[in-house]
């Protein structure tokens, strides 16, 4: 097993909002324990509004008001030693983030400056990370990087609008990989792209991962993409990880009813039989249902589900699930 590179312990980050004098608490990340390893692609899946993006923000140490770290720890392993990110000063955090973690936010294809050529964007980027490079050196560095990733170097001479959406997305991801970060966090990098371009983006992510042997944390709701790229998948629901396992087990032997719904709701070719989406809609993170947050939508809900929150239990190596149906938890106190 690879060693740990990023670990969270009982992580709780809430948005604390003050609406007309009443306090609203959005429990976007609610008690999450993650153990992400080197040289792996860790996928996080779940419906929109389940806290995926907030979790990524926390992992990237970008917790800013109204988002607050309520409880728990985030550890980065620098040279094998854990560093508690919340204890760092903003300056130290920024420095650590620069060469340790790269974050590709959602809709990043519009992140490129539209009025300058891509090579200028690259230069900006390089200069903010390493000092003392001449203009020619930065361009050469950008060119080499682009070529290594199999993208045409002539795009450096282009303005963002001249490229197709898929190429822009790939350029942004390539930019994120430029400083060889130990972790790349990508938030929905393939959403709203068509299937062929999506495949191109996945191909690029895999190339980067193979080359740098680093960690990629990939958030996407597309279970098909997860199946194609992830080594391990965590299924997130209402701010909690409800199931986590290797990709093979998640797809081959899903345990949580929510995971089963997610996988079965995908239409399959050659099968036109009616498919049901997950019944109901995701709960509001301000006002979570009691017990297991999934119980109002779950077809197997029992009495205990509405009363107590199931713990994430380990079924066997690398397979964890939080459900009263599984693992003889029923009847036991949590």
């Amino acid at each position: 097993m690879n060693e740990t590179i990023l670990r969270t312990e009982g992580l709780k980050t809430f948005y604390i909002l003050d609406v007309f004098g009443t306090q609203k608490v959005v429990k976007a990340v609610n008690n999450i324990n993650l153990d992400i390893r080197t040289n792996e692609v860790y996928g996080i899946a779940g419906e929109s509004g389940c806290g995926k993006t907030t979790l990524l923000k926390a992992l990237a140490a970008a917790i800013e008001p109204p988002l607050r770290l309520v409880d728990g720890y985030i550890f980065y392993y620098v040279d094998g030693k854990p560093v508690d990110v919340s204890t760092l000063s903003p300056e130290a955090k920024r420095k650590l983030r620069l060469d340790y973690i790269a974050y590709v936010p959602q809709g990043s294809m519009s992140a490129l400056n539209p009025v300058i050529k891509l090579k200028e964007t690259y230069r900006d980027f390089i200069e903010s990370h390493v000092s003392g490079k001449t203009k020619e050196e930065t361009v050469a560095m950008a060119e080499q990087h682009i070529t290594e990733l199999g993208l045409p170097p002539k795009i450096l001479e282009a303005y963002p609008h001249q490229l197709s959406g898929g190429m822009r997305q790939r350029v942004t991801i390539a930019l994120a990989a430029l400083m060889k970060p130990a972790i790349i966090i990508a938030d929905e990098p393939t959403t709203a792209l068509d299937v062929v371009v999506q495949r191109g983006v996945v191909q690029l992510l895999m190339d980067i991962q193979k080359k740098l042997k680093n960690t990629i944390i990939l958030v996407t709701h597309d279970m098909g993409v997860q199946a194609n790229i992830a080594d391990r998948v965590g299924i997130m629901y209402a701010g909690k990880i409800v199931e986590e396992s290797t990709t093979e087990k998640i797809y081959g032997d899903p345990q949580h009813p929510y995971t089963k719904f997610l996988i079965n709701s995908l239409p399959q070719f050659g099968d036109k039989s009616p498919r049901q989406s997950v019944p109901g809609s995701p709960p509001s993170l301000i006002d979570l249902p009691s017990g297991c947050a999934f119980h109002p939508r779950c077809p197997h809900a029992m009495g205990i589900c509405a009363e107590q929150t199931p713990e994430l239990i380990t079924l066997d190596t690398d397979h964890k699930v939080a459900c009263w149906l599984v693992g003889g938890q029923h009847g036991k106190t949590a």
């Binding site: 929109s48 509004g49 045409p152 999506q198 997860q226 194609n228």
Partner: protein
């Protein structure tokens, strides 16, 4: 055969650049298809292939360079200058529901405005009844929705709200431009299931524009695959998606990720660098990426060939050129 909407030889040319370096881009080239009443027809293809341009022309937002549109038996040229959504019962929904509604305005205002603009109800009470009835079609109620701002809905809910808004005027054709690409997989199913139900219950026709072939297969009867302004393959979904003939359709079909980690993609693919480059090709637009490319593909545009009930624009197939519009 009864046709609700027929698009004949539609061509749209955009001119880009300054006077000195002018580039003529054919966003839609000789596009022809028809939609039957109570049918879901899919127009599929990648971003920038001319799907949205075609939709905009049908909606009357753009004037075609050439070609005609016949809707309800009336040629569009006769009704020129009139708003098609008002006169002819065509309504549209778009990709991003958050972009559809003004974030600073309560969503029900749009509903009341539509009711007023189309004179659908005489009193406020009637209007509320009508709105409630329409919202129930999409699985919402008036109470859940009154007085809320767009940000108070989830993406899937808001997309359903925008569908309900479009249905208020009881259109016979709904143009759905990428309605599911922004929502997640489980909500996708709830939206396409909604189209299916509306089709069965109200005989609504839908022009479903998408790049998501899996839902297209699930929901529609016939499909047209578009590439760089051309329809490269058109026919029943069973044939086009299960045994794709055009190399581009084959690539599309292969690229759909399957929720099965044992079936990962193994082949590498090539993507176009710029869309412009492919649009400006003389011969087949796909020649730059096609694994079966021949000399003729680079010089001559292919014609529609009828292969087994499917029209294919490719030199790989020989046979009698198809008669236009079957």
């Amino acid at each position: 055969m009864e046709k609700l909407l027929e698009v004949k030889n539609l061509t749209k040319v955009f001119t880009m650049g300054s006077i000195l370096s002018r580039v003529r881009l054919t966003a839609a080239e000789d596009v022809s298809f028809y939609i039957k009443p109570g049918e879901i027809f899919t127009l599929a293809g990648e971003s920038g292939c001319g799907k949205t341009t075609t939709a905009k022309i049908i909606l009357g937002f753009e004037e075609p360079t050439s070609g005609t549109i016949v809707h309800n038996g009336k040629d569009r040229a006769e009704t020129k200058g009139k708003k098609v959504w008002q006169e002819e019962g065509i309504q549209a929904i778009f990709q991003d529901p958050f972009g559809t509604f003004n974030p600073l305005r309560v969503v029900d205002r749009y509903f009341f405005e539509t009711v007023q603009g189309f004179k659908l109800a005489a009193t406020k009470r009637e209007a509320i009844e009508l709105i409630d009835e329409t919202l129930r079609l999409v699985g919402l109620t008036y109470e859940e929705f009154a007085g809320k701002y767009p940000s108070e809905f989830s993406g899937g809910q808001l997309q359903r709200v925008s569908i309900a808004r479009a249905l208020l005027t009881k259109p016979n054709l709904l143009i759905a431009d990428e309605p599911v690409s922004m929502v997640d997989a489980s909500l996708r199913m709830s939206i396409v299931n909604l189209f299916k139900r509306l089709k069965e219950e109200t005989n609504l026709s839908v022009l479903y524009i998408t790049h998501d072939l899996a839902t297209a297969y699930y929901v529609s009867e016939r499909i047209a695959i578009m590439f760089r302004g051309n329809i490269v393959e058109i026919g029943p979904v069973e044939k086009v998606l299960m045994e794709p003939k055009h190399p581009y359709s084959q690539l599309l079909r292969e690229s759909i990720p399957e929720a099965d980690p044992t079936k990962r993609w193994s082949k590498r693919i090539v993507l176009a660098e710029t869309e412009e480059e492919e649009y400006l090709r003389v011969g087949c637009k796909f020649a730059g990426r096609c694994p079966h490319v021949m000399e003729i593909c680079k010089t001559q545009p292919p014609k529609d060939i009828d292969v087994d009930g499917v029209l294919v624009k490719c030199f790989l197939y020989n046979g009698t050129p198809a008669t236009p519009h079957e």
